[in-house]
């Protein structure tokens, strides 16, 4: 697949979903501003660390991942039939088309997460960059998993959505607890654990999406 074809698919998809992108960013900005960040006074440093992480990461991880899943579901067939038909009739392999089609929701979800982080920063509770990294990994992994729901139906679709939800929970638990309990080895261990798990989930989900697109029957 040429870079030009990739840009064409991503550009067309982003243009088609520009309203959703604006709404997602607006929603992320509002929630980023109003999300409560305060925690009760805790003397134990470990408990305080866990409490801070759980409160500060809950908003971006759960809300922005939900946005990512919603944007992913919008890539499903029917919403932009002419794009679907044109992309399907182009001489592209399933995995190539999967990468291009996945890039649009991934970029949208990334932008929404950036807006959320900016809103947090502007509201005076700026989360450290590591938190943004943890949140974005979770958002991207769950978005990629949710893409599988767009080309499946029935139980398989529900399963893909359940996996996307499970990805958010697993990433959140890892980000909050693996990080907090790895203080002796430094934050890097906890951060790396969450990033690696999300990278593996995202990679497998993208491969699976490519397989599903290659086998997809538009008449079903």
């Amino acid at each position: 697949m040429t870079l030009r074809a990739l840009r064409a698919v991503v550009g067309a998809r982003l243009r088609a979903e520009r309203r959703s992108l604006v709404f997602s960013c607006a929603g992320a900005a509002i929630v980023g501003f109003v999300q409560p960040h305060g925690i009760t006074a805790i003397t134990d440093p470990l408990t305080a660390d866990v409490a801070t992480r759980s409160v500060w990461l809950a908003g971006p991880m759960f809300f922005c991942s939900t946005i990512g899943i919603a944007i992913a579901l919008m890539q499903g067939p029917g919403r932009h039939a002419f794009l679907d038909t044109t992309e399907r009739s182009a001489p592209l392999f399933g995995r190539e088309l999967a990468r291009a089609k996945a890039l649009a929701p991934v970029l949208s979800a990334t932008l929404a997460t950036l807006v959320y982080w900016a809103a947090q920063f502007l509201s005076g509770f700026a989360a450290p960059p590591t938190f943004f990294l943890l949140a974005i990994a979770c958002v991207l992994a769950s978005t990629l998993v949710a893409l599988n729901a767009t080309v499946t139906a029935g139980v398989a679709r529900a399963g893909a959505l359940a996996c996307a939800a499970a990805t958010i929970v697993v990433a959140y638990v890892l980000a909050v607890y693996a990080d907090a309990y790895s203080t002796k080895s430094g934050d890097a261990v906890g951060v790396a654990t969450e990033l690696v798990v999300c990278a593996i989930i995202g990679f497998v989900a993208l491969r699976q999406y490519g397989e599903l697109l290659a086998r997809y029957d538009p008449l079903t």
Binding site: T2, R4, A5, R7, A8, V9, A12, R15, A16, H80, A81, F82, T85, T86, E87, R88, S89, A90, P91, L92, F93, A214, D217, P218, L219, T220
Partner: protein, 175 residues
């Protein structure tokens, strides 16, 4: 040598037979009109002929390729024009040509000049109907599959697609 061949190709969804086992031979440069009894049958047949859907039984070959094994090779040969017109509220004509040219890796200047020439050949046709045909013909396909085209436009489309084989799939009833 056939550009499109169906051998007992059928499409079945669950217990419902959408396309009954059918045979079809289309030679390069030939035109053929296939009448179907329903819109779903016509759509399924057209998509099978353009390698967009796979026959559930029987065989389909496009050029020398089997769409089940080499769909990308088939899509380099066949072009598909859907029944629905281009939604001009979502994409304008010039952008659509650039989009198609990028997907089929056609030089932008070549694509623009081909599009202009084809638009002149499809003169009088509304943009929403002309551009899907024009877009399908941009990569110079060997086979053009038309899914239930407007009957009034068929002679003009056949004239514009004089270099390739054309399969026109129609319905015998109003869909």
């Amino acid at each position: 040598m056939h550009i499109l061949r169906f051998r007992d190709a059928a499409y079945v969804r669950g217990a419902q037979t959408i396309v009954a086992p059918s045979n079809l031979d289309l030679a390069p440069g030939d035109h053929m009109t296939r009448a179907c009894s329903s819109a779903p049958e016509a759509e399924a047949l057209a998509m099978m002929a353009a390698a967009l859907a796979r026959a559930t039984s029987g065989t389909v070959t496009i050029g020398e390729f089997d769409p089940r094994v080499q769909p990308v090779h088939c899509k380099r040969i066949a072009a598909f024009v859907p029944h629905d017109p281009l939604p001009l509220s979502q994409i304008d004509a010039a952008r659509y040509v650039a989009y198609r040219a990028a997907l089929w890796d056609i030089d932008p200047a070549v694509a623009r000049s081909r599009a202009q020439r084809l638009r002149e050949q499809l003169e009088g046709m509304h943009e929403a109907f002309a551009y899907p045909i024009l877009g399908a013909l941009l990569p110079l396909p060997q086979l053009l599959v038309l899914d239930r085209p407007h009957p009034a436009f068929v002679p003009q489309i056949l004239a514009a697609a004089s270099d390739c084989a054309v399969l026109v799939v129609e319905t015998t009833v109003q869909s």
